[in-house]
């Protein structure tokens, strides 16, 4: 599994271009998240792809060839925080509820909805942690799961910023040789 972070133009069709390119390379996308950045014209993606390091190089290099992708970088192997968020609806009656609450505490999940027969839990963390929680919840009866897919950020001074205006030469510097 490889994690690629990309900054893209925030406009229609870009998600399609990105997904289509990974499809064309015949890699499975494990998860893909998109969200706005502090610049409304730029969105940030985290793409988790089923491939090896070599495949991830092809993904990042091919992605950066798309006009609308400003930057793409494989951050696998770098120190990074990678988080999923999950909402889990689990069956909970009078009897099982106290037991459940214990587990929830251990996993630092939160109860965000309570009804007579079930609870909705919110939990964030690594994929492994959420998988672990699901594992222990299963005997109680997991009714529904919604997971966001990973978002990722490299640690400390390892900054991944969208390119800035003063960062320089680009396509525009190349003259067209129209015939």
């Amino acid at each position: 599994m490889q994690t690629v972070v990309a900054y893209v133009e925030n406009k229609p069709g870009v998600l399609n271009r990105v997904a289509s390119l990974v499809r064309r390379l015949a890699f499975n996308i494990d998860s893909l998240t998109v969200g706005p950045t502090d610049n409304p014209e730029i969105a940030r993606m985290t793409i988790v792809v089923h491939t090896d390091k070599q495949g991830a190089h092809r993904v990042e290099a091919s992605l950066e060839k798309l006009v609308d992708v400003l930057l793409a970088e494989n951050i696998s192997g770098r120190a990074a925080v990678v988080r999923d968020l999950a909402l889990i609806k689990v069956a909970a009656d009078q009897q099982s509820r106290p037991h459940l609450m214990e587990l929830i505490k251990v996993f630092r999940a939160r109860v965000v909805d309570v009804s007579p027969e079930s609870l909705i839990l919110e939990v964030s963390g690594t994929v492994d942690k959420i998988d672990g929680l699901l594992e222990v919840l299963r005997p109680f009866g997991v009714l529904e799961i919604a997971r966001t897919g990973s978002v990722a950020m490299t640690r400390g001074s390892d900054l991944l910023r969208p390119p800035a205006a003063n960062e320089s030469p680009h396509l525009e510097a190349v003259g067209s040789k129209a015939g």
Binding site: E64, P163, E167
Partner: protein
């Protein structure tokens, strides 16, 4: 400031971008633009099929080094362009395709002649865009030209809705400069990689350069020659690289790969260093990757980062425009006497005489290789040759020796049958002063022969040689080698091409013996009009040597000596 319609802005933008020729076909959704085009100083070439328009734009681009432009209407007009766009994509050819689209308020409604052409062409264009406001027409087009021609070139499609063409807005050229997304600036130059490359270059005993299309695209011919001569590197060519380095140069070994010369493939397998310049280790040049050039270190000079380590793992990757990289490398290259290695490679050529069909006695049989070799001699190798795809294409690469850049135009990556005739029309418009020859098979020619009418309408002078063997020859050859001669769906009926040419108002002639070849070529070259020559060649000849798909590069099927006997039959 007077207002202009989107259609007028489109034409004005093309003119300002220096476009002089436009290959296209009108229809409802592009009609406003055609109306404006009628008043613009651009020569519109009416094609007979939109696929032809894209190949013409492609041929125009490859012959000129500029951008070729094709235009079509929405729906079927646009989808007919798909093959030509994919052809340009695989061969990194800069073309801009302009398509009409239904009005923006009808988008997604399955309106008459509506297709999602940007969706369809997304994976086969370098970029594409829908333009739905007159205000965006000029900028989008200017951006399309920049994208098509820069870096690794490729096709760009601009889909303009009918209302964007019809509505009017103010137009100031200065305000429509390209505003492309700000990309990360990558510092291509990496001293570590350069140092590694220089060390390899200056110590290799058995180096071979693999010269590709990138040399032509970056116009690196001069510095490449200097580089080759300084290091005394033997040079193997890719199909699309032919012409990037003179065939007459003693260091030019010829073409590598599936139908490359045996000595070239053997030299590559023997080499201790491969220097790949503007090529991408396509499966047709490497054969089985597990056994490919095992003894060799590899240096890859390539503008497209995504190509590095894609097929072949390399020891030094020099990312950048071929000319710039070679200019940086040259001063650090030490002259190196490699005469022993060069002599060895030349000795490998020795056994090739049996392959050389030219040395066979004339037994009354006409071989394609004879035709192409004679054509090379008669034109002194100075024509622009545009080939189709198949056996004749490989024979052209083997028997027509190109000394000049951009003198061979062929569909390499996609292998598009039907490419030759329309691409030659485009090439002729780009370089009207040059002699242009089509070499096509009887199969591929029938795919786009409707463009003969375009030739007549435009009063063009293009010479056409059909290598007619009554088969889809390359497929037949595969059936002969790998399917036990079961010729399923490869025997092919063709019209009398000479009579067909006459029906279009074009001179045509049929040639069946070797003695007629040169007189026919001479007669065709003497007149300044299009002539079609239908060469009826040996039906079951094959291209040798051949590396079977997936086999090692040195596992070549060689010309069987029995063929000498075959050719002596009555």
């Amino acid at each position: 400031m007077k207002k202009m319609t989107g259609a007028e802005i489109l034409c004005e933008t093309l003119v300002r971008l220096g476009v002089k020729h436009l290959f296209g076909y009108p229809g409802g959704a592009i009609l406003p633009t055609y109306d404006a085009l009628g008043r613009a100083p651009i020569q519109h070439v009416l094609v007979r099929h939109e696929q032809g328009a894209t190949h013409m734009a492609d041929g125009y681009a490859r012959a000129s080094g500029g951008v070729g432009v094709a235009m079509a209407t929405s729906g079927p007009g646009a989808t007919n362009m798909v093959t030509g766009i994919a052809t340009a994509m695989l061969d990194s050819s800069p073309i801009v395709c302009i398509t009409g689209q239904v009005s923006s308020k009808l988008l997604g409604s399955d309106a008459f002649q509506e297709t999602d052409i940007t969706g369809i062409t997304m994976p086969i264009t370098k970029h594409n865009v829908v333009v739905s406001r007159a205000e965006d027409v000029a900028r989008s087009l200017r951006e399309a030209f920049v994208i098509a021609a820069s870096g690794r070139p490729g096709p760009v499609l601009v889909d303009v809705t009918k209302d964007a063409q019809q509505s009017a807005c103010e137009f100031h050229w200065e305000d429509t400069a390209p505003k492309l997304p700000l990309k990360r600036y990558r510092q291509n130059y990496d001293e570590q990689q350069f140092a590694r490359a220089v060390e390899l270059l200056n110590t290799a005993k058995r180096p071979v350069i693999l010269a590709g299309h990138g040399i032509l695209i970056s116009a690196a011919m001069r510095v490449f020659q200097e580089f080759v001569r300084t290091g005394n590197f033997p040079v193997a060519m890719t199909l699309l690289g032919l012409g990037a380095f003179p065939a007459s140069d003693p260091l030019n070994l010829g073409m590598m790969g599936m139908h490359g010369e045996a000595w070239v493939n053997n030299a590559i397998q023997d080499a201790d260093l491969l220097i790949a310049v503007g090529m991408r280790f396509d499966d047709r040049v490497t054969g089985d990757l597990r056994t490919y050039a095992q003894k060799a270190r590899k240096i890859h000079i390539e503008v497209d980062r995504a190509e590095i380590n894609k097929n072949v793992k390399v020891d030094a990757a020099l990312i950048g425009d071929a000319r710039e990289v070679l200019e940086k490398l040259l001063p650090r290259l030490e002259p190196f006497d490699r005469s022993e290695w060069v002599a060895h490679v030349n000795k490998l050529k020795g056994d090739s005489a049996v392959r050389d069909i030219q040395s066979l006695p004339d037994s009354g049989h006409l071989y394609a290789a004879h035709v192409i070799n004679d054509l090379w001699k008669e034109t002194r190798g100075e024509a622009i040759v545009v080939t189709d795809v198949g056996q004749h294409q490989m024979w052209e690469a083997q028997y027509y020796h190109h000394n000049q850049p951009r003198s061979l135009i062929t569909s390499g990556g996609l292998g598009t049958m039907g490419f030759a005739l329309p691409a030659a029309i485009g090439a002729k418009f780009a370089r009207p002063g040059d002699e242009v020859w089509v070499i096509a098979g009887d199969g591929g020619f029938q795919m786009t022969m409707c463009e003969l009418a375009t030739i007549v309408q435009e009063k063009l002078n293009v010479k056409i040689a059909i290598i007619n063997n009554g088969y889809l020859g390359m497929v037949r050859q595969w059936q002969e080698f790998f399917y036990n001669k079961r010729y399923v769906a490869t025997p092919l009926v063709a019209p009398d091409f000479a009579a067909l040419a006459n029906a279009f108002g074009i001179r045509g002639e049929r040639i069946t013996t070797r003695g007629e070849v040169i007189p026919a070529i001479r007669a065709a070259r003497e007149v300044s009009e299009t002539v079609l020559l239908d060469f009826r060649v040996e039906q079951e000849d094959s291209v040798y040597p051949m590396v079977p798909a997936g086999a090692s590069l040195d596992e070549m099927i060689r010309r069987p000596s029995s063929l000498v006997e075959t050719s002596q039959e009555p």
